[in-house]
């Protein structure tokens, strides 16, 4: 599989999920804003190919998205529920990317792990194909990679 195919699959998956399940239109960007407070999530996968998806999203953007997803008022939504929604977002993106690029083989997703970054993060880090976008309230950064270094 080419890097271009993986890059395209990642972009399509993120944009379709945000539009369909979160009713959010995102604007792709070349370089993410750094220094924001973030919620980070990671989903490992196994199968014909193994690796991981990593996601980081601005806390404010995540909070607004979570409130819409759950149908609750943003000011009343606990941070823990926002983290749950970010976990599910990472899970959905990982499954959607794998379904696009590994459509003929079985795969298994691990349990999403998510946490609030306690302070501003200078560099999100990670490896593999990267998709970055602006959302209402902040930015989104997703990487998807194969191999030991990403699992």
């Amino acid at each position: 599989m080419s890097d271009a195919a993986l890059c395209g699959g990642l972009r399509e998956a993120v944009e379709e999920i945000l539009a369909t399940m979160f009713f959010v239109d995102c604007v792709p960007r070349a370089n993410g804003r750094h220094g924001e407070e973030l919620i980070a999530a990671r989903v490992d996968f196994e199968g014909h190919l193994s690796g991981s998806l990593r996601l980081r999203i601005s806390r404010r953007a995540a909070h607004l998205m979570a409130a819409d997803f759950l149908g609750e008022e943003a000011p009343e939504l606990p941070a823990s529920r926002t983290v749950e929604v970010v976990s599910e977002l990472a899970n959905m993106i990982c499954g959607a990317v794998l379904s696009r690029i590994e459509s003929q083989t079985a795969f298994r997703l691990g349990v999403p792990l998510a946490s609030v970054e306690s302070g501003p993060v200078a560099d999100p880090g990670g490896a593999g194909e990267v998709y970055q976008a602006d959302l209402p309230g902040g930015s989104l950064w997703v990487s998807f990679g194969f191999g030991e270094g990403n699992a």
């Binding site: 399940m21 599910e88 499954g95 349990v111």
Partner: protein
Amino acid sequence: MAYRVLIVDDSPAMRAFVRRVIQFSGFDLAACYEASNGQEALDLLRHEWVDAILTDINMPGMDGEEFLLRLSQDDVFRSIPAIVISTDATHHRRERLLAMGARGYLSKPFVPEALRAELESTLGEPA
């Protein structure tokens, strides 16, 4: 006719989303129960009758495949239609779970209308 639905998913966020979609889609819902894995769902089914089950696949403890297998092996539970809701949209997985007894398969992401249509189709109601 109002229906009783069980949502089985380890993600509290996804359970809340599915419940909200059902409630606001106009589907005639009498009761909505939740379980975080297959074992919890089986325990609940021993006390509560439901008309349809919406289940995830990847769950800690008893996963969706084992849950479908246990439903199919039970003389009473096998009559309850189960619809899989999963991030896995591969043909391989869909065919496997339909062969195991799932009556429907909805891959994420999905539009709210698709969930209602799947429920109504499974329950024999007009979509």
